[in-house]
Subunit: 201 residues, 4 copies
DNA sequence: CATGAATGAGGTTTCATTCAT
DNA sequence: GATGAATGAAACCTCATTCAT
C-alpha cells in the first residue's frame, strides 16, 4: 500500500495481520489482538486503515501485488504458451504453499461481499496479464476458443483455490509444488484446443 | 433437520436465513434481522441452534442434503460414466442458479474455519457418492488414475464454485446451465485418461 | 424517570451516579466507573440512557422532582407569604445540605449547554410553583412589582446556588440551615415592596 | 499571562478560545478546533498551556484580571458606599453583556472542580477589593453586619451570575445594563443595615 | 419452551495528551 | 520552540450470547 508510515510498524503489522486473520474466521479475529501482537496502538491502526476490513484488504492488496510481480518475473524468457501457463500455475501453488497464511486469508477468511466491492478484488494487473496470454493462445488455435478467455482463467483459478483449500483441510503433508506438474497436465488438457492435432507431449 | 419444531416457523426461518445470509458477509448479517424477518424471537433461535453459526450450518446442511438427493435422483438410469459426471456437473450449476442465495452462502459467506470443523463440511454422503463414481472410472481406465480420486473431484468442485462466483461477480445474465455442456467438456478432458484411446465423443 | 426497569439496578445506579458525578468534573467522570460501582453492565446504561449526559440528566430530573415534592409538602398550611418564601428558601438549603452530591452536580458539574436544552432544566413544575406565589405577592403589594416575578426568583435561586457553592468551596462546617433565617432576611428585603408600610417583623 | 509568545498568536488564540469554549460544554469543545481556528498547531498549545483546562483557565484569568482593572478604574473618585457598590454591580453586568462569551464560559462551561482548585478561582485581587469595601460598610453601620462580609458578596455575585445566566437562557433582547439600577436597588436593600435609620434615597 | 432484559465483547470514533523529530 | 505521528482512554454503538422469568 501507499501508507507512508513507519516501515517498522508496517512490518510488525503485516506479520500480525497474517497471523491473526489466517487463524480465525474474519468475525472472530479481533483488531485489538492484531494491535497487541504488532505492538501498535489500536488507534494507529484506525488512523491508517479506517476499519477491520480496510486493514485486511490493504495487506491482501500488497501480497497479491507481490505475487503478481513474482509471476511476471518468472515468465521472463519463456516463449512457449504451455510453459508459460505451467509456470503461472506453479508459481501460484508455490507462493501459497510458502505463505499458507495468505492462502487461508484469500480463500477462507476474506469477507467476499466486501472484497468483491473492493478495487483490490479485481487485481486488474494480474488478471489482465493472464487474460492476455490466454487470448493469444486462443487466437493461435492452441487453446479452446469455444469459451471466453475468462472461463479458461476461471478453470485455473478455481482449481488453484480448491487445491489449496483441500490441502489445508486434509492437512496434507505432501508438497503442493511436488504435484504441480501432474496437476498442470490435467489443467492443460482442459484448456487446450480439443480440435488441435498438435500432440500433447 | 433435528429441530423438532413448528414446520411453519421452520419454513419462515429458512427463508429468513437464506435472505439475510446471502446478502451480507457473515459478520454483517444479524441474527436479530433473521429473527425479525422470520417473526420469531431471537432467543428461540438460540434455544434451537445455539449460535449464529449453528443456525446457518444447520440450514446449509439441509440444503446440501437436498442437493445430494437431487443428484442421486438424476443419476438414476444413467450408465455411461461421462454422462454421469456431466449430469452431476449440470445439476450443481442448475441448483445454484435456481437458488443463488445458497450459492452465495456456500461459496461466499460461510466462515470457512468453522465450517471446515463442522460435520456438515464433509458432506460425506455427497462426497462419497462422487468419489465412488470417480474411482470406478479410474479403475475402468477411463479416468486419469495418476492422481487420487479426490483430486479429480477438486477439478469439478473448484470449477463449479469459481464459475458460480464469477457469475455473481460479473452479474452475468446468461444462464449457467446453458453453458454447462461447454464447460463440462473442459472438465472432462481434465479428468479423462490421457492414454485412453476411446474417443471423446 | 420512567425507566421501567429493575428497581434494584435503578437504586444502585442512582447511588453510583451521585458518587461519580459529584466528585469529578463531568468530563473526568467515566461512565465505566459508574457501571463498575453500580455493578451494572456498561451496555445496560447505554440501553437505558443513551449517553453519559442522558444518564446524568435522568437522575437530576428525578432528584429535582423529589425536591419539588418536598417543597410542596412543606408549604402546606402556611398562609403568610413571607413564611412561604422563607420555607421555600429553607427547604432548598436543607435539601442540598443533606444531599450535597446533588448540589455539586446541579451547580458544579452539569454541562450547562446541554442541560439548558433539556426539558429537565425548565423544571416547569417547581418554577411555576414559585412564580405563582411571587406574582400573588406582587399583586398584593407585598413584593416589589417593578420587576418581573422571574427576577424575584433569580434573587432566591442565585443566592441559594452561590451559598451552596461557597459552602462547598470554603469547606464550611457550619450548617447551611442554621444560617437560613439570617440569609433569608436579606432575600426578603430584596424582594419586598419598598413602598410597603407594613412592618418587617 | 506568562505565555511569552508571539502577541499575534496570543490574540488569535484568545479569540479562538472565547469562540470555542463559549459555544459548547467543556467536554464537547475540542482543543483541535481551537488550534484550527487560531491557525496554530495543537501541539503548540500544549507546549504553552499544558492541557485543555490550563488553556481555558489561563485566558479566564486574563479576562477576570481585566474586569478587575476595569472595576478599579471605575471606582476612582467615588466616595459614597452605595454608589461604589452600584458601580461594581453595573460594571459587571456591563462587562458580561459586552463579552457574553466570557460570561458563558465563567458561569456555564468552566469545569468547576478544576477551577476551584486553581489559583485563578480565588481571584484574590478582585475578591479582596470587594470584601474591603463591604467590611468598611459594615463597620460604618451602613451594611448589614449580622452576616460575614463574604455573605454579602455572595449575594451580589450570586445575583449577577443568575441574572446573566437567565439573560442567556431566556434569550432576552433587553439590555442588562438598562435594568441595572432597578436591580441594584433591590440588592442594596438586601445588603444594607436593616437597623439603620438612614434614608434609602 | 418462548421471551426480552442484561451482559460482554469488540468495532468505530473522537480526543486529550505524549513523543520524537 | 513548532509540528504531526502515535498513543490511550473513553464515548458510542451493535451484536452475539446468556440468564431469569
Amino acid at each position: 500500500m501507499l501508507d507512508g508510515f513507519n516501515p517498522d510498524i508496517h512490518k510488525r503489522l503485516e506479520a500480525a495481520v497474517l497471523e491473526v486473520f489466517s487463524q480465525s474466521d474474519f468475525h472472530k479475529a479481533s483488531i485489538r489482538d492484531v494491535a497487541k501482537i504488532a505492538g501498535v496502538s489500536f488507534s494507529t491502526i484506525y488512523n491508517h486503515y479506517g476499519s477491520k476490513e480496510g486493514l485486511l484488504l490493504a495487506f491482501v492488496n500488497i501480497w497479491l501485488g507481490k505475487l503478481t510481480d513474482r509471476i511476471i518475473d518468472h515468465l521472463q524468457g519463456i516463449e512457449d504458451l504451455k510453459e508459460k501457463l505451467r509456470k503461472v500455475f506453479w508459481v501460484q501453488l508455490d507462493y501459497y504453499e510458502r505463505y499458507p497464511g495468505l492462502g487461508r486469508i484469500l480463500f477462507m477468511t476474506l469477507p467476499m461481499k466486501t472484497w468483491m466491492d473492493d478495487e483490490t478484488f479485481q487485481q486488474r494487473k494480474m488478471i489482465g496479464l493472464f487474460l492476455e496470454v490466454l487470448r493469444q493462445g486462443q487466437e493461435a488455435g492452441i487453446l479452446n476458443s469455444n469459451v471466453r478467455a475468462g472461463t479458461l482463467l476461471d478453470f485455473i483459478s478455481g482449481f488453484v483455490q480448491r487445491t489449496f483449500t483441500m490441502w489445508i483441510v486434509r492437512e496434507e503433508q505432501e508438497s503442493l509444488t511436488q504435484q504441480a506438474n501432474l496437476l498442470f497436465e490435467m489443467v492443460w488438457r482442459a484448456l487446450s484446443n480439443p480440435e488441435c492435432t498438435c500432440r500433447e507431449k
